[in-house]
Symmetry: C2
Subunit: 127 residues, 2 copies
DNA sequence: TTGCTCCTCACGTCACGTGAGGTGGC
DNA sequence: TTGCTCCTCACGTCACGTGAGGTGGC
């Protein structure tokens, strides 16, 4: 079991952030007295939350996303619904990756031009 | 020249969003009377703003990013500063892409398992 | 005159940041 | 007793959303 401070430091977020996710019912830690204690499952969910947020999803979307992981594989209709959500999520992420790659190419191009400029205008003061 | 409504529809944002970027001094459209009119330069900046935001940057960061595009290539020290910023931005984006690829692989794995489950449990009702 | 798009406040929302003030166990 | 970490309000902030009420030109 981990304390909120340990988790916060390990994941590079504030304790406020972790408590906020609890208020949104994304994580439900155990209590000993008034203090919170987190299990391995809570840590796994926090990993998924932070990664999803880093990809630009809202906490409502993350909530649905977490449900995909918890999905009970009993009912076929449920699984068909899951498949639809997965496909749409995958398309969204692929579009985002295309944006990201385009921006990276542009930045690298600007970088190359800058390096070339510096090479050309480098004043050999030390000689 | 474009009106704010034309730009909003073309870029899939609200007019409120475009006016907000003006308040943050990211875009400075011309005025005819009280109405705003946007040039090709304004459109180009809006493209960069929206793409950067989609990658998770704040408007303050976008403001710096736009400055990289406008950077006057006259002074060497300025260019060295630009190079530092470019390298840090490139590293950030590469980390983000790693996160994105990891998530995509996981979603595709869950998808494959779901498809397999549906294949195995498919009830041949129509026969 | 009626529609349409434009405008300026201004309050609401989401995801936290940031103190304020207080409690519990080594 | 002093430190440290934990706690619960509660107001502030950022990037807009969402009306409220009003103006201008085809």
């Amino acid at each position: 079991l981990w304390t909120i401070g340990e988790l916060a430091e390990e994941f590079g977020v504030t304790t406020r952030t972790i408590r906020f996710y609890e208020a949104k019912q994304l994580i439900t830690p155990a209590r000993k007295g008034v203090a919170r204690f987190y299990t391995r499952r809570d840590r796994a969910r926090l990993t998924l939350i932070l990664r999803s947020k880093n990809l630009g999803f809202t906490l409502d979307e993350v909530s649905e996303y977490l449900a995909l992981y918890d999905a009970d594989p009993t009912h076929v209709t449920q699984q068909r619904h899951l498949l639809t959500k997965l496909d749409s999520q995958i398309l969204t992420l692929q579009a985002k990756r295309a944006d990201l790659d385009r921006t990276l190419r542009e930045l690298k191009s600007i970088r190359a031009q800058t390096v070339e400029f510096l090479r050309a205008n480098d004043e050999p003061k030390g000689e």
